[in-house]
Amino acid sequence: MFGSEKIRGIFWQVLLLAAVVAGGWYLFSNTQANLARSNIQVGFDFLDREAGFEIAESWISFDASNSYGRAFLVGIGNTLYVALIGIVLATILGTIVGIARLSENWLVRKLASTYVEVMRNVPLLLQLFAWYVFFTELLPGVRQSINIGGLAFLSQRGMRFAWPVDHPAYDYAGIAFLAGIIAFFFYRSYANKRQQETGRQLPLALPALGLILGLPVIAWLVGGAPTDLDIPKMAGFGMRGGKNMSPEFTALLLGLTTYTAAFIAEVVRGGILAVDRGQTEAAEALGLNSGQRLRLVTLPQALRVIIPPMTSQYLNLTKNSSLAVAIGYPDLVSVANTSMNQTGQAIEAIAILMAVYLFISLLIALLMNFYNSRVRLIER
């Protein structure tokens, strides 16, 4: 009977399953015993309890009387906030450095290479410490803030900058911006259709600018063209007014950005190098100009090679944002850590942590698989 491969396969699997279940049961019963000894209740009810701690920065209102559940929400928001901005900035910086590494200019090339070789080979944690030290020790105190144009003030307490006073005109502008983007997409498909039918190419760049930037400006004008700024001023022991970017946030953002940009630079460089020289030559021989070559031949092929490792870097950045706990930015891990220490509900807190990060990872992986299957080069 054991000669049959199928039976053997089933046998091993059942054995493994039994081992896993037995092991799991063992760990579970130990855990129960240990928890009972320390009088800790398992369960997520603690999320309704009052948190009892403050969170330094938050995207929704929060104070010590709010629940732990709300605290976790703040943490998630803070993590996503710094991750999203980090991804955008790192992509821009990384692309520039990646292209710079391929420049004909020796100096530019060497500077870019040095940047990559330094940033990639130092642990992110130490880089964050370095940025944090810069923003909290090397910048002057609040009273001696560096004044940038009278509108921004850089000090140990962060960067405080002027911000327009709330006014409905800005809401109109926001709506107009979204409307502009949608309008641009309609215009673009109209222009494509025109080209297919008649061969005439309608301009895209100027109308894009006009719709996406122009409409909001018009809306702002219509709304009353308010120009009042909330300018930060010294008040007592600190500054008031305007908006503030805390040193923790700034250090985390810059650390994540500069670190991830080094890896993105290599991804971009690899993608551009991966496009065969013959492709650009064939495009040249056909008479396409450099803009057309880039758009129709080089970029589509480079992006196919770039996107998978790029999304992997985005994921890394998001996971690395968890280092915020080391420099005091209240991200999800930081909030979870505080909650864990206060309530002892370690298992639940860690479960929430892992669930959130897993969700983000799976989301990004799904998006990437979707993109990959759509642009797969069709081969035999």
Partner: protein, 275 residues
């Protein structure tokens, strides 16, 4: 017969005389040579790859350029559509001089078609899209017009049934034929071929050469770098033999193969013919 002993170059007939001989047979009003190269010199850094090249190609003429590897033959034809630049001498294509002037370069490129050794088809576009890309974006044709032209040429190279396929799904010979059609869709007056069959498996060489022969018979001006001597005999008006960056010998295929004048030509022929 003039033998230039200093450089060992031989030309059995002067280029100018040759050009006028072929122009005499041209249709009326076509006085300009298709390509006129005078005193062409090119360096890669310190290394000189082309030395004092003079060549005139008349309309409808078929020229085969051959020679050992490193002789500069590929570099020469790549200079004609500015895939390589030159430091000294002039190249004139259909009356337009090739300089750094982008407008001239673009004009010349839309009139000169090129077929590469490694096909260089765009893998992310279908066969049809490969062929319509340039007509749509450079000649500003409508999609319908471009597709009609493309089908016409795809049928000419006998690959119309693969129009919706992607390059990755085709064999080497099929891809090269698509590459020829793609170049033809721009309606060039001159076609350049850079070792079009060197990267093909032997059984596919014939289908591509047949396509090129039928193109030649229709009167296309062709400048072809190749080792396929059978093709040269069948179609070429002239064979240009290059070695170490210079034109060593120019002659009709008959004369060149049966009666090479120059020692270096003899050496080259003996190497490729006894295989």
């Amino acid at each position: 017969m003039a033998i230039d002993t200093a450089s060992g170059r031989t030309s059995s007939i002067g280029n100018a005389a040759l050009a006028s001989r072929f122009q005499a047979g041209d249709s009326a009003g076509a006085g300009l040579p298709a390509i006129s190269i005078e005193g062409l010199n090119k360096w890669f850094g310190e290394f000189q790859v082309l030395t004092d090249i003079d060549l005139t190609v008349g309309k409808g003429e078929k020229i085969v350029v051959c020679g050992p590897s490193g002789s500069g033959k590929s570099t020469l034809i790549r200079c004609i559509n500015r895939l390589e630049n030159h430091q000294k001498g002039t190249i004139t294509v259909n009356g337009i001089e090739l300089t750094d002037n982008l407008k001239n370069i673009d004009q010349i490129r839309s009139d000169v078609g090129m077929v590469f050794q490694h096909f260089n088809l765009f893998p992310h576009l279908s066969v049809m899209e490969n062929c319509t890309l340039a007509p749509i974006w450079v000649r500003k044709q409508s999609k319908v017009e471009a597709e009609a032209t493309a089908m016409k040429y795809l049928e000419r190279v006998r690959i119309a049934e693969q129009a919706r396929k992607y390059p990755g799904q085709l064999s080497g010979g099929q891809q090269q034929r698509v590459a020829i059609a793609r170049a033809l869709c721009m309606n060039p007056s001159i076609m350049l071929f850079d070792e079009p069959t060197s990267a093909l498996d032997p059984e596919m060489v014939k289908e591509v050469l047949d396509t090129m022969v039928s193109l030649a018979r229709e009167g296309m001006t062709m400048l072809c770098v190749t080792h396929e001597m059978g093709f040269a005999r069948a179609v070429a008006d002239r064979v240009v033999f290059m070695d170490k960056g210079e034109i060593v010998e120019t002659n009709t295929p008959q004369e060149f193969f049966d009666n090479p004048q120059n020692e270096r030509s003899r050496q080259f022929l003996s190497q490729i013919l006894d295989r």
